[in-house]
């Protein structure tokens, strides 16, 4: 069975959960009694979760599905009712036989509604929640007013504007004019919290999301509140900067513009940014991200929720690892080395034809391929076809660094499994690199194809490269290897092309194109396809979708996948 390898879910299916019936704004729905909390443990379903299942959004600030519940913002207060229990401890019935509902009121003031915070109040059978009632609306309006009285209202200079919950709910529940005539509380502005974070305390609504994140998710109690009451201020211990590898997540979860990223600060208004779903390529984890770009310039990476990979988080190192895409010294021209005149620009057709001619003439076994585990599955698979045709030796470069418990993997290659599964990498990865070096030294290998790696740093020195008859190099940034290339093929950064990666847990995830390639750069899969066609005569894949679907037929581990079936979150394969 071809689909056997591809399992849609790695998690075991949860045990069947008891369902209970409640009403949301008069609409009866059935919801599970237990639902996963922030750690994924089953806990009694909260009103907020139940409302979400009913398709009703309950506004909130402090609640975050992946953080412990704090219940301090009070924005999610809702009016609710419970079945009225008579003195005989049985529900009281209406005349028509339905259960009588007692709307909850203040015990000391029965004319006033008592709200409950939807984020922490568990539901019970027969409960009625009224997220759309006038009383609920009034509670939201009042909480929002409280939040706004001491807010500086400086949206024009606030980076959060456009994705600010305070702005959004102000549209829904705010008043056009403030009745607050007293002086506002002023707090420190532009506080340098750490190497990547700036804090504006006046904007802070003290929801404590950042505090909980850094304490409960990262385990680095770097942030805290000082002072009391309305003067409470978010801060770090003076002299102890907020500096762990996950600080920038606090910028994402900050519902207002209190925490801002130094990297993104005052760079671009968020409403201009085009959002492209993609994958972080800085390590084997493959965090799901959203690339924010405008006019072919990348401004930021943000994590995208994928509970099977990165939850809602990503590391700072990965997040800031986009600047090289826009570097000035990018390789932008296709080049062919002329024995007399050195490297000269060439057209793609001419270069690829020339390479194909040379490869076709190369005796079997005289070609070696050094691929990169930073290439996509499709590109590696195309290389494996070349390898098969030319009986080439191939390998890719392993990259082991430091990892942590949360997200950062020790494998700094984003697609080690792709390289393994397509058969391009040796086992263990990198073990054939010395063989290739020896082959060149001994003269057995005369042609070397290098993709995205500076092989001079991995055991194949410049003097060895000089011995080659043909050195075909594709890369994005210049290196010693690209300088020695006979054929130089400018490739694309990950944000400039589409394709798939297989992460360290065997999840095949899609890369999407956010910006156009620089100069003459072309996606590697595109020109590799041309090359493979020129060399082997195989065809049948003109688009990335077609290529992927062809690949899954031929690579056993990928059997049963489809490009469309990968969706936004990818699919795990057996590895």
């Amino acid at each position: 069975m071809s689909a056997a390898a591809a399992t849609t879910e790695t998690k075991p299916s949860p045990p069947p959960v008891e369902k209970i019936r409640i009403k949301v704004d008069g609409r009866e729905i059935e919801v599970p009694k237990l639902m996963p909390d922030w750690q994924g443990k089953l806990q009694p379903t909260t009103m907020l979760q139940a409302c979400a299942l009913a398709g009703v959004e309950v506004p909130h600030y402090c609640y975050h599905p992946k953080l412990p519940v704090a219940g301090n913002c009070r924005m999610c207060l809702v009016e609710f009712g419970l079945p009225l229990i008579g003195p005989d401890r049985k529900p009281v019935l209406n005349e028509d036989g339905t259960t009588k509902i007692a709307k909850q009121v203040l015990p000391y003031e029965p004319t006033t509604v008592r709200g409950a915070i939807a984020c922490a109040t568990p539901i019970s059978t027969g409960m009625e929640i009224y997220p759309g009632s006038p009383a609920t609306r009034q509670m939201r309006e009042s909480v929002l007013e409280f939040l706004l009285i001491n807010h500086p209202l400086d949206c024009p200079i606030c980076d959060q504007a456009g994705e600010c919950k305070l702005q959004e709910y102000s549209v829904d529940y705010g008043q056009s004019a403030s009745r607050f005539v007293e002086a506002k509380v002023h707090k420190p502005k532009a506080v340098d919290l750490g190497p990547r974070i700036v804090l504006d305390d006046e904007r802070c609504i003290l929801c404590s999301r950042c505090v909980r994140f850094t304490k409960d998710i990262v385990g680095d109690d770097a942030l805290g509140f000082v002072n009391r009451g309305s003067y409470s201020t978010l801060t770090h211990f003076p002299g102890k900067p907020f500096d762990n590898n996950y600080t920038l997540n606090t910028v994402d979860i900050c519902p207002v513009g209190a925490l801002t990223s130094k990297d993104f600060r005052f760079q671009m208004r968020v409403w201009f940014l085009k959002q492209t779903k993609s994958i972080c390529t800085s390590c084997g984890t493959g965090c799901n991200i959203v690339i924010g770009s405008r006019e072919e310039k990348i401004y930021r990476y943000e994590p995208r929720q994928n509970d099977a990979v990165n939850s809602c988080w990503m590391c700072d190192a990965g997040r800031l690892n986009y600047k090289w895409v826009g570097r000035e010294d990018r390789l932008v021209k296709c080049g062919v080395r002329n024995p007399e005149r050195g490297m000269k620009d060439a057209s793609w057709v001419a270069a690829l034809n020339e390479i194909a001619d040379r490869l076709k003439k190369a005796p079997a076994g005289s070609v070696a391929i050094v691929a990169s585990a930073r290439q996509t599955n499709e590109e590696l698979w195309l290389l494996s076809k070349l390898k098969a045709k030319l009986s080439a030796t191939s390998d890719s470069v392993p990259r082991i660094g430091e990892g942590d418990k949360l997200l950062v993997n020790v494998d700094k290659n984003p697609n080690s499994y792709g390289a393994r599964l397509t058969g391009v990498a040796a086992d263990p990865m990198g073990s054939s690199l010395p063989k290739i070096a020896d082959g060149i030294r001994g003269g057995g290998i005369k042609t070397l194809i290098v993709f995205g790696e500076d092989v001079t740093k991995h055991g194949i020195g410049a003097e060895l490269l000089g011995k080659l008859e043909t050195l075909i190099v594709s890369d994005i940034l210049p290196s010693q290897t690209t300088e020695l290339a006979h054929y130089l093929l400018p490739g694309c950064a990950h944000a400039e092309k589409r394709g798939t990666f297989t992460n360290i847990k065997g999840r095949v995830q899609k890369l999407m194109k956010a910006v156009e390639p620089r100069g003459d750069g072309r996606p590697e899969w595109e020109f590799l396809h041309d090359l493979v066609y020129n060399v082997t005569g195989q065809n049948g894949f003109v688009s990335i979708e077609g290529l992927f679907n062809q690949m899954v037929k031929e690579v056993p581990a990928f059997n049963g996948l489809t490009w469309a079936g990968l969706g936004d979150l990818g699919v795990a394969v057996r590895i």
Binding site: A120, V143, F146, E182, L206, S230, S232
Partner: protein, 479 residues
Amino acid sequence: MPQEHRLILKYADQPGYTPDIDCYLRHGGYEMLKKALALQSKDLPGGKKMSAQEQVRDEVMKSGLRGRGGAGFSCGLKWSFVDRKSGKPVYLICNADESEPGTFKDRQIIQKDPHQLIEGMILSCWANDVKLAYIYIRGEFAQGAKILNRALGEAREKNFLGKNILGTGYDLDLWVHRGAGAYICGEETGLIESLEGKRAYPRIKPPYFPAVLGLYLCPTIVNNVETLCAVKHIVAMGGAEYARLGTPNNTGTRIVSVSGHVKKPGYYEVEVGKVTLGELINDPAFGGGLRDGRTLKAVIPGGSSAKVFKAGEKFKLKRKGADGQMTAVEVDLLDLPYDFDSLAQAGSMSGSGAIIVMDDSTDIIEALSNIAEFYAHESCGQCTPCREGSLWMAKALHRLTHGHGRKQDADYLLNIAQNIQGRTICAFGEACAWPVLSFVKKFKDEFENRGATDEAKRTAKGTGPMQEMRPIARSAALR
């Protein structure tokens, strides 16, 4: 003639009574502990057994003792909620963070009769299988903490505390933990957080009910000083006998603190419900009446967070007649029985038993401003309505007391307070909203007149629209 009924403070003010253990033992101290520890399990009909501890808990339940801290919640019921099946240790904390303005009863017990509290605590701990207990005493009671520590040392020496108490195999550790000046630590979950070494942010309920998830997320009992002392007397008298004191559902004695504009401010232990508010203020045995030539203007009956009463108010109380029928009776303010239920029916509460009396020399707006400033200062800042609202009200009242009032300020204040009450994590929301709601509602004409006068003054001066008030400075007019 109404009289004090001294039970807890029986010896405290007697000449020659000292807070050391010898004096306490001479006055029958620790006898109740010995009595309780000697109790045997009792057979119940149906072949079940009732352990000695259960018997004590049962007596407390029967006594109808209601918490003396403020909420007046049944002590026996509170104990019955404790999750004893979790396998986690049960903790008991004595709430000695007496911070409610107007209250000064626990201070008397701690300073004058610390061993009574300790005995009450040991009894309560034993009855609830508690192995570790704390007295959370407010930081300002530095003397009290010293006295308690000395008393604990003495009790340890005599083996009333520590390992294998009086040879019964029961171990109990009891420590004094000092707060550091935060009113919110009087809220039980805030107190627990504070005892855990955190900012005293009250916890959300659900899920953090102390009886299930309290100190270190273990079942925890938090009781007021006076409540725990009463436990000793319940053990001495038996629950049923104790319940005969006071009035039904408002049993026992309680210490009432009377302060403000009375001749004899002080603390008076009375049977609950047997004495009226008027007697507590005016009777020579208690408050002794107002200062000469003054008349009553307002009374806060249960600590500053209780709703104020205006002089001359009348209330409709439900009374059970001789035929068992409930009838409504009109009662004057001064004839209100001082108990939990009557005051609740009159729209306020007896809270921590603190009566603050204000005579006609009091500027009611200043008084409210003073209270509002207290709450703005003491708000922990965790949840939005209280954090922002308490300071907002304080600032608005500050404006009103400094000649920057507006006609609409009365409604403005009512609306802010209305938006706070019932919407916060803990009862502090009510505590800061109720004074404002009650003062402004009952003295609305004063507030509106003040606003109108200020506006008229501004118009006359031609200063035009109201100036924004600059940051809050200390109120001056109460000098």
